[in-house]
Symmetry: C2
Subunit: 146 residues, 2 copies
């Protein structure tokens, strides 16, 4: 597992403990995910969720899920900092609009395919009928030529 | 503006003040958005963002944007309670997958339309050539009949 720039032994504080001005313990819950060289990551989640909530949420998860949880919290927090009214719900709403638009375009294209297949089918049926008619004419001609 | 079930004068506490066990002031920032009869809304945002962060975020916004901000925070908080690892970032990821799938289906359908148009065009060009040939035959016939 990556030690995230943390110097064990020297106890250089992680970004979280540095911001919270507290001693960074060997088993600090933040240290693996908030390295000292990326202070903005913790600053965002601290501003939006609060350090104690982040701590609690991490403690409630098994270790193998914590990295993903931190990534999603950082994403959410950054979205809320950028857009304090809608946060990442704004992104959800815009993706849903995009889905609606794509579904409409897809329905139009699929309807066009069906329409063209029908026309192609009708036209090939007519050609078949014409071919039959031509064959009947040829039969007539061959009868006259007898 | 809806008073959200709050009884002015009687000072019945809003859901936030009730949960935080504090006096609900006449100008309480939570009261218009967290009515006493919907305690779960505040419980979720309190658990995920923390009451003081929600308070701060609301104070930093003009009043006409606060209702939307509360709705998006409640949505985000509920998503995080349901899915503590991915929260509403899980929804974003699933919507993005849906968009990728729709874009692929749309590209296939549009390619089929183009392909069918090309075939239709080629077939109508051939029919045109056949028509010309038929017309030339007719001309031949009419010459003989003269």
């Amino acid at each position: 597992m990556k030690e995230s720039g943390r110097k064990h032994g020297a106890l250089a504080p992680c970004a979280a403990c540095k911001l919270l001005r507290r001693r960074c313990a060997q088993d600090c819950v933040f240290a693996p995910y908030f390295p000292a060289d990326e202070p903005q990551k913790f600053a965002s989640v601290h501003k939006v969720f609060g350090a104690s909530n982040v701590n609690k949420m991490l403690q409630e998860l098994p270790e193998h899920q914590r990295r993903d949880a931190v990534s999603s919290m950082v994403y959410e927090a950054n979205a809320r900092v950028r857009d304090p009214v809608y946060g990442c719900v704004g992104a959800i709403s815009s993706l849903q609009q995009q889905i609606n638009s794509l579904q409409t375009q897809l329905a139009v294209a699929q309807a066009e395919v069906v329409h063209m297949r029908m026309r192609e089918f009708t036209s090939s049926s007519n050609t078949g009928a014409m071919d039959m008619a031509v064959n009947q004419d040829n039969m007539g001609e061959s009868l006259w030529s007898c």
